[in-house]
Amino acid sequence: MQVDGVVNDWPNRWRHPDVYMDRGGPFAPESFIGGDELKEFIHSEDCKILVVGAGGLGCELLKNLALMGFKSIDVIDMDTIDVSNLNRQFLFRYKDVGKSKAEVAAEFIMKRVPGCVVTPYFGKIQDKDEEYYSQFAIIICGLDSVEARRWMNATVLSMYDEDDPSTLKPIVDGGTEGFKGQSRVIIPKSTACYECSLDMQTKPVTFPICTIANTPRMPEHCIQYASILLWPKEYPTTKIDGDDPDHINWLFNEASKRAEEYGIRGVTRTLTMGVVKNIIPAIASTNAIVAAATANEAFKLATSCAATVNNYMMYVGDEGLYTYTFPLEKKADCPVCGTESVKLAIPATWKLHELMESLLERQGTQMKKPSLACGDRSLYMQGPPPLEAATRPNLEKLVSELVKEGDTVVVTDSGLPISLKLVIHFE
C-alpha cells in the first residue's frame, strides 16, 4: 500500500462485479450502459456513498461496499464502542472500547481494503447540512432509531428538486429486530418514503398504565412501575438516562421491591436497562443478511446493472423463514412525500391575507381554511381559537415582512391530504 492510501488495482481484482458491469442483467433498466466508464465511475469519487450508522448493520455494510469496489465512502455515527458491541460489530476490538465507532470502522476498512477511502464523522446526522448530503450518489441507512430515520428521510426528500435530477438521492434502508428485518429502496417522490411507513414501525413496548399501577404480572410491569410512576415522583425534574448506572440501579432496586411484593420473578439489571432503553435484541446473522441485501441494492442502483427491489423486502425469520417483497404504496397524506412543492411568484406588495385568498382560488385544490407556517413559526392558524387570535395580526402584514425570498411556506388545510409547500419569490 502506498503512503497516500491509494493503490492501483491488481489484475482481476474486481473480476466478479465487473462481469455485471460489462453486460448487465436481463432485467437491467434501459439506462444501463456497461463497460469501462461504468467501472471507473463505481471506483471513483463521483460515486460517493454515505453509510449512516456504524453499528451492527454499519459494520456489515462498510465491509460489503468496500469489497464490491466502492472506493469513496463516508460513515456517520455518534456512538462510541461499548464492550457489549464486540460480539457482533466485527470491525471493533477490545482495545477500541470507548472510541468512536465511525472512526475505528473507517480505519479498519481502509487497512483491510487498500484503495478504499472511508471518511468518518463522529457525531450526529443533524450536525450536517444539505450541502453535505448532496455530495453523495446514494445514502444507505443502517440505523436502529425511528427518529434518526425520519430525520434522514425528510432531509433527503426535501433536497429533491424536480427540475434538477442531480438532487435526486436514493436511500437504501436496512433494519433488523431479532430474527426479522427489512431492506428497502426509497426513490424520492416515486416510491413510498420512510414516513409513509410510520405505522408499520415497531412501537416501544407499552403496557396499560392501570396494569402497571395495580395488576402487575410481568417483570416488565415492575420496571415500568419504577420508571413511569415512581421516578417522576422522586425526581420530578430529572429525565431518566438509560446510560447512567445510578439511574439504572435506582430503577432496578425499586422494580425488585415491586416484584417481590407481587411474587413476580425475572427482574434483572440487564432487563431493567433493556426496558428503559427499549433495547431490541440484535442477532449478528440477521444483520449480515439484511446488510447484504441492502448493499446489493446499492450496487444495482449505482450501476443500473439489474433491477432493484420494488420496493420493500421483509425478511421474516421468527416464524419459520420466508421473505416477502412488495411495492409499498405512497401515502397521500404523508407529510414528507405527500406534499407537493410549488414555486410561487407573488407581488412584493401582497399582504398575508392576499396570499391566503389566492390559495382559495387555486385551481386543482379545494382549500377552505388554510393554515400557514414558515419553519417553526405559524404565520396564520385557522384554529384552535387562541392560535387563531395570536396569528390574526399577521394577516395585515406584508408577506415580505414574514418570509424571506426563497423561503418555504407550509400550507395545511382540511381540503389537502396533508400539506402544500410554497417556495415564495417576490416579483
Binding site: 392501570c210 395495580n214 396533508i418
Partner: protein
C-alpha cells in the same frame, strides 16, 4: 463540484434554515382541522409560537363531573405521530382513571396509540372518561372501588372532592367552576 451542483447545494442550504419538520406539519394539520372547539373544551398556549405545548381545559356538561373545570397539560414531541402526546392532569382530582400525580389511564395514550390518531382523538378520549369513568381500569383504586359498589356515594365523593374536600386521607384540589 460543478457549477450546477454548487448552485443546487447553495439553494438547498438556503432552504434548510426554514425547514418544517414532519411532526410539525402533522401537528399544524391536526390543529388547523380542530377549528372552533365544542363548548366543553378550551385550549390555551403558554407560548402561542409553540404548538407543541399546550393546556386543555374540559368543563363537562353532563355526568358526575358536571360543574368541574379540569386541566391537562399536553406535551407533543418531535417523535409525533409515531409517539403519542404526553398528557397529565395538572390538578389533584378524584377520578378512578386518574392518579394523584395526574397520570391518566386512557388506552390511546399508551398501548393503543397509532399514528393515524391525532390530538382531537385524545381530547375526545379525555372528555369521555369524565362522562363514563371506568372502574375496571383503575388508577385511583379507592375511587374505582366506590364507583363499582356504590354509585350514590361515588357521586357524593366527586362533589365533595371538586369543592376541595377530603376523601379518605386525601385532600383534593378545588375544581368547581
Amino acid at each position: 463540484m460543478s457549477m450546477k451542483k454548487k448552485a443546487a447545494a447553495d439553494a438547498a442550504a438556503g432552504t434548510s434554515k426554514t425547514k418544517t419538520s414532519a411532526a410539525r406539519i402533522r401537528l399544524q394539520k391536526d390543529m388547523g382541522d380542530l377549528g372552533s372547539l365544542p363548548k366543553t373544551m378550551q385550549m390555551s398556549f403558554p407560548d402561542p409560537n409553540d404548538m407543541f405545548n399546550f393546556v386543555l381545559t374540559i368543563t363537562p356538561d353532563d355526568g358526575f363531573y358536571k360543574g368541574g373545570v379540569f386541566t391537562f397539560s399536553f406535551k407533543v414531541k418531535e417523535g409525533y405521530p409515531h409517539e403519542a402526546p404526553k398528557v397529565l392532569c395538572t390538578q389533584k382530582i378524584y377520578h378512578p382513571n386518574i392518579d394523584l400525580e395526574g397520570n391518566v389511564c386512557l388506552n390511546i395514550l399508551r398501548e393503543d396509540w397509532k399514528p393515524v390518531l391525532n390530538i382531537n382523538s385524545v381530547m375526545i378520549g379525555l372528555q369521555y372518561i369524565f362522562l363514563e369513568p371506568n372502574p375496571d381500569d383503575p388508577l385511583n383504586k379507592e375511587a374505582a372501588q366506590v364507583l363499582s359498589t356504590n354509585r350514590k356515594l361515588f357521586e357524593q365523593n366527586v362533589n365533595k372532592s371538586m369543592k376541595g374536600g377530603c376523601i379518605g386521607s386525601v385532600t383534593y384540589d378545588c375544581v368547581s367552576a
